[in-house]
């Protein structure tokens, strides 16, 4: 650490200098909107980058069935152990296996995106841009298969469009 100069040791001038920076930002935010870093969330949608890892969603095949084959590669790669899948035998022998239940514990999830990378079928994505998950009960953060598929979601998400992009 560098030793303080005599000027810095006086403290008062440095405090004033700092206050000047704070006041300048305050005035800019208060008066003009140029260069403002503060976002008016939630009135204005937050800008997230395209690669932002938001809440998961499950994709569908062309016939509307879940793309997921319950191979468990996402659950295997998940470092937070938050994906719980139960596989089952599908009546169609060419499909063979499908997820009877697919639950993500969003409270345990660390949003690392390894599940998306691991998926061989592009069945799980994190491109919804949703980062503000809210619920009144912890149980409501156990997102079941149909919610992740978009059945119980606002239409824009169900159609695969992230709401805030």
């Amino acid at each position: 650490m560098q030793p303080l100069t005599f000027w810095q040791k006086l403290y008062i001038p440095e405090i004033l200098r700092g206050m000047a920076v704070t006041t300048r930002h305050f005035m800019v935010n208060l008066l003009g909107r140029r260069h403002t870093v503060t976002q008016q969330y939630p009135e204005e949608p937050t800008q997230v980058s395209e690669r932002y890892r938001g809440r998961h969603r499950l994709m569908r095949k062309e016939d509307g069935a879940p793309r997921c084959t319950a191979c468990m590669l996402c659950a295997t790669s998940c470092p937070a152990l938050c994906i719980h899948i139960q596989g089952g035998a599908h009546p169609d022998p060419t499909v063979e296996k499908y997820p009877v239940s697919f639950t993500i514990d969003e409270l345990r999830c660390v949003f690392c995106g390894l599940c998306v990378e691991a998926c061989p079928c592009d069945a799980i994505r994190m491109d919804t841009g949703i980062f503000a998950l809210a619920a009144y009960k912890r149980e409501n953060f156990l997102y079941p298969r149909n919610l992740l598929l978009g059945d119980d979601m606002p239409t824009n998400i169900a159609e695969g469009k992230a709401p805030n992009l």
């Binding site: 319950a70 590669l73 089952g88």
Partner: protein, 525 residues
């Protein structure tokens, strides 16, 4: 006369009738293979075990080439690796590559060897030949002909081991496939083994299908408690849940097989468990602490003294349990009313399945419990209860309703002063118990079983007992302590130490000495 040969520069002495693959495996050199199985005849059709022999122009299959003196074998030369790569390319031509939904993924011979010898860049551009998917072969086996590499292990198993001949190869060329003969089902009592020996995902078990991916499973060495044979098994479990049992090789007991009844015997570990000590209160069983339950039991045992206590024991426990139980009966309770009730005899065959469906009837007698009684001999005990000589009945692992009849148990529930039932699973009749003590299953505890041959074998705890269940020997130790006898036992191995000191045939034995494959205690050691 043994033969000397060199494999990969290593001097090896092999049996006279050994093949190269056997000699190599005995010397610890692994040679990739699919169709070769040590307990089946040689088929030589997968071509995966190719090796290079000095002085021979072509690669030879090691599974069907007998060893010759001064033979020089190379198992990993560039030519051999190229050969294996070619074989794998052929085997995978029509393979569907559906590993993500295939139950075998993670323990698949095709995956494992492809990682080592794979081509990685497929040259195959034609249309794959499609086969039959999800073909129902029998009660537990599902077949997928696209994944099959026609190694014929399952066909040979049904011909040579189960000797039931359900399977065969039909058609020719790229339409050749395994199938059951018309009108036949793969339903022999050993059918599950075909799934074990299938090196790929062609045969899968309906029971295990899609339950869990194999890489989540942990293995614990154990012994099947389904009958007196005591087949060596591995318990495959995850998070305290057992998903399947697999046979473990022990040539003295079960070679590499187990029967289907044993294979599906794990369900009692997961289901219908008694998890908490319970006592009868207000007309129903109520959960209580171990202390309260034992107080209830001990109070009744003390009130009437040893002579009024009857014990019905099923030989399901380990030697450690039975040793302490015999000690409890003779030293602490001093009761003459003691019966070892093995239940009714079941099916038997000349291969693995034994009629006695208990794992430790022989061990129970070695530990000082009486000889097993038949159902008719139970009448004496029933009479003693009806006459009021026995006022406290302590049933250990025994199904009272099956032994004495459900009405009798119902009558005794009011007639007896105390009915103590110690069990790991709830069966009909147990709800009449005055005191219900939960005991741990074989997957949750250490111990030893002595099979019908007199072979002492170890079971190991795969996970902690569910709920508040305790290994039986701990329950006896707690009971003895409540009755004023402080026993020094803190582990099952400590009990075995005492058994080794007290029983001549078990002298000097420890868990380390018994090992994974057991130890014969048939003669004085």
């Amino acid at each position: 006369m043994a033969k000397k040969l060199t494999i990969d520069g290593k001097e090896i002495t092999a049996r006279d009738d050994a093949t190269i693959i056997q000699a190599a495996h005995e010397a610890g050199i692994a040679i990739p293979h699919y169709c070769y199985h040590p307990k089946l005849s040689i088929a030589g059709n997968c071509r995966m075990c190719l090796v290079e022999l000095e002085g021979r122009p072509k690669l030879e299959i090691s599974c069907n080439t007998p060893v010759v003196d001064n033979m020089v074998v190379l198992t990993n030369s560039p030519r051999v690796i190229e050969g294996r790569r070619g074989v794998l390319e052929f085997l995978l031509i029509n393979h569907p590559l559906d590993c993500p939904i295939c139950d075998q993924a993670g323990e698949c011979g095709l995956q494992d060897y492809y990682m080592q010898y794979g081509l990685y860049h497929s040259r195959f551009q034609e249309e794959k030949v499609h086969g039959r998917k999800v073909v129902d072969f029998g009660p537990d086996v599902v077949f997928d002909s696209e994944r099959c590499i026609l190694c014929t292990r399952c066909v040979r198993f049904c011909k040579e081991i189960s000797q039931t001949d359900e399977l065969g190869i039909f058609e020719r060329g790229d339409t050749a496939q395994i199938a059951t003969f018309p009108g036949k089902q793969l339903d022999n009592p050993y059918a599950g083994n075909t799934v074990d020996i299938c090196p790929v995902g062609a045969l899968t078990s309906k029971d295990f299908r899609f339950k869990i991916r194999v890489w989540f499973l942990q293995e614990t060495k154990s012994i099947c408690p389904g009958c007196a044979r005591g087949c060596n098994i591995n318990i495959h479990h995850h998070n305290g849940q057992v998903y399947r049992l697999k046979p473990r090789q022990n040539d003295a007991v079960n070679e590499t097989w187990i029967c289907d009844a044993g294979r599906f015997g794990y369900k009692s570990i997961n289901e219908t468990r008694v998890l908490h000590p319970q006592i009868q209160q207000d007309g129903a069983l109520q959960h209580v602490s171990w202390q309260v339950a034992l107080e209830h039991a001990v109070e009744a045992l003390q009130r009437h003294g040893g002579a009024a206590v009857g014990l019905v024991i099923a030989p399901q426990g380990t030697n450690e349990d039975h040793y302490l139980l015999a000690k409890l009966a003779s030293e602490v309770l001093a009761t003459p009313h003691l019966v070892l009730y093995p239940g009714v005899l079941g099916d038997e065959d000349d291969f693995l399945i034994r009629a006695d469906k208990n794992p430790n009837t022989r061990g129970a007698q070695d530990m000082g419990l009486p000889a097993p009684v038949t159902t008719t001999q139970l009448a004496a005990m029933a009479q003693a209860i009806d006459q009021g000589t026995i006022k406290v009945l302590y049933a250990i692992g025994a199904n009272l309703a099956a032994a004495f009849g459900p009405e009798t148990v119902l009558r005794w529930a009011t007639q007896l002063d105390c009915l103590i039932v110690q069990t790991s699973n709830m069966v009909s009749g147990h709800e009449q118990a005055h005191v219900l003590l939960p005991s741990a299953t074989y997957a949750e505890r250490d111990g030893t079983f002595t099979n019908f041959q007199g072979r002492l074998q170890r079971i190991n705890a795969a996970f902690a007992p569910r709920g508040e269940a305790l290994p039986a020997w701990q329950i006896y130790t707690r009971l003895a302590s409540s009755l004023g006898h402080d026993w020094p036992y803190v582990s099952a191995e400590g009990v075995l130490h005492d058994i080794a000191a007290a029983t001549p045939r078990y002298a000097g034995l420890s868990y380390a000495k018994i090992g994974d494959l057991g130890y014969p205690v048939t003669h004085e050691s």
